[in-house]
């Protein structure tokens, strides 16, 4: 029989390799974040500031790719076919929302749906992949891959602990996720780009700077204003879309069945 028709046996070496990759990715991410927060490098545009920018960019990207490699071989085929749909939804729904001048990004709906249906590993992988694919059209998003992974991871965690069993819990989980994502992503915006990429968000950062805040503090405060609201709306929309799925579809995901993600809610 062809080896392709057999389920591959997981060896302890593969398992260990995956764990080491996940640990390495997490350690790099946490170490970079703590280093930046503790040292708060100044002079971001001159001297060693260029090194800080390159180091932050590389560390966040490498951490995201390591986390992706740790979970990729673990994903079921049903999750793998769902991820491209989620990536396309991120882009298409994000563009549609952007075209009607609503002051939200809503560019992670697909990632959150995957997190809700397939768990935190799949959600994190979708976040990283979404950023990698989107970077072919917008290269500046590349160092935000770790933040996107965190969105998917937190969506999966929220679903696992019952955030979808009551509709009002989803935006609350989104609010908490938004705070964490904003805090993790702000060093990238500060030390790689020297601020934000939008005029509105730039004005908010400038306002905080004029009040005496450091650049990192101003960007973090701006992120804490924008991200929680955005993620609350994204989590709510994603939850409503998951509720609208037929039960045979949502129930086909082992994560949904195992953790009773939808509780007693029964779709048609």
């Amino acid at each position: 029989m062809s080896p392709n028709l057999l389920l591959s046996e997981e060896t302890s070496t593969q398992n260990l390799r995956r764990r080491l990759l996940a640990i390495a990715g997490t350690v790099i991410l946490v170490a970079t974040y703590l280093t930046l927060i503790i040292t708060q490098p100044t002079g971001i545009a001159e001297g060693l500031g260029q090194g800080v920018a390159l180091g932050t960019f590389a560390a966040y990207l490498v951490a995201a790719v390591l986390l992706l490699l740790a979970v990729l071989s673990d994903l079921q085929v049903s999750t793998l076919t769902l991820i491209p749909v989620a990536l396309a939804l991120n882009i298409i729904l994000g563009q549609f929302v952007g075209s009607v001048m609503v002051p939200l990004y809503l560019d992670s709906i697909g990632t959150v749906i995957v997190g809700f249906l397939a768990g935190r590993r799949a959600g994190a992988a979708t976040g990283v992949l979404s950023t990698l694919v989107w970077s072919l059209f917008a290269p500046t998003v590349l160092p935000f891959a770790a933040g996107a992974a965190l969105v998917g991871f937190l969506a999966g965690t929220a679903a696992r602990f019952g955030a979808l069993r009551r509709v009002y819990l989803a935006p609350v989980a989104g609010l908490v996720a938004g705070v964490l994502v904003g805090v993790v992503s702000s060093p990238v915006a500060t030390f790689v780009y020297g601020g934000t990429s939008g005029v509105g968000t730039g004005a908010v950062v400038a306002a905080f700077r004029s009040m005496g805040d450091s650049l990192l503090s101003a960007v973090t405060k701006q992120a804490l204003i924008s991200d929680p609201g955005d993620k609350a709306v994204v989590f709510l929309i994603a939850a409503l879309l998951v509720y609208a799925l037929p039960q045979r579809l949502s129930g086909s995901f082992a994560f949904v069945r195992r953790y009773r993600v939808l509780g007693k809610r029964v779709s048609k």
Binding site: L54, T81, L82, P84, F137, P139, T140, L245
Partner: protein, 253 residues
């Protein structure tokens, strides 16, 4: 008619990474401008100048305005102000910082977008499949690339159908939310049903395949290109370190 470039996609990506990292580390306005000029020349040769200019402009304009607001108008350094009005304080140093950060971002955006325009997506997928990375990655990239236009078209048709039904035409926030719901729900449901159907077929065919895979599409490669890739990777890693060390030594002496 856009020209295609007959290089291995990884060669283009490796050179781009080396160029961006060394230019960022050097932080010299003339070098950044030279790289940007070269990118525009290459895009002109490839017949992609207009596309590159429009895409880059759309991304860089708000970024530059934002940096001017943050660093140019609310400068907090000790140098003398050239204009001051309430909390707004403009200094030469602040404007220099905004310009320097803007150029740094411009190099990343223009080089990155040029890569996206020059690389043939089919070749990139084939190159990933032939490389030692997990086969799932090639599938995900290829599937997303081909799904995007399909789902864009599906969304357009759903919008047309809803307009024909004369629903989702309301104004204000309620109208916007209704439009989002009427477009998003059918799009998500149909796309997820398609994904589930594909999963069954892929599982039946033993995806992801283990062992070596045969691909009909070959990716042009040569020993010279392999050498260029290695050199580019070494330059991307060691170049910035060398530049920063020399800059530090120069500033101390």
């Amino acid at each position: 008619m856009p020209r295609t470039i007959h290089l291995h996609p990884f060669t283009i990506l490796a050179v781009a990474v080396a160029v961006v990292s060394t230019t960022t580390a050097a932080s010299q306005w003339w070098l950044s401008c030279a790289v940007l000029g070269l990118c525009l020349l290459i895009s002109g040769w490839a017949g992609q100048l207009k596309k590159l200019s429009v895409l880059s402009g759309a991304m860089l304009l708000p970024t530059l305005l934002s940096l001017l607001l943050i660093h140019g108008l609310v400068s907090r350094d000790n140098s003398p102000a050239i204009a001051q009005w309430g909390p707004v304080r403009v200094t030469v140093h602040g404007l220099e910082v905004a310009l320097s950060l803007g150029l740094r971002t411009a190099v990343l955006v223009v080089v990155g977008l040029l890569c996206g325009l020059l690389i043939d997506k089919h070749q990139l997928v084939a190159a990933i499949d032939l490389s030692p990375v997990p086969p799932q990655l090639g599938y995900l990239l290829a599937a997303t690339h081909f799904l995007l236009p399909q789902m864009g078209e599906k969304q357009r048709r759903i919008g047309e159908a809803q307009t024909l039904r004369r629903v989702g035409t309301g104004k204000g926030v309620t109208g916007w939310f209704q439009r989002v719901r009427l477009r998003a729900v059918p799009l998500v449901l149909a796309s997820m049903q398609d994904a589930q159907d594909r999963a069954v077929h892929l599982s039946a065919r033993g995806f992801p395949a283990i062992g070596t895979r045969t691909r009909l599409r070959t990716v042009p490669d040569s020993s010279a290109q392999r050498a260029i890739r290695w050199i580019a990777i070494v330059v991307a890693v060691l170049g910035p370190v060398l530049i920063l060390v020399l800059a530090q030594l120069g500033s101390k002496s």
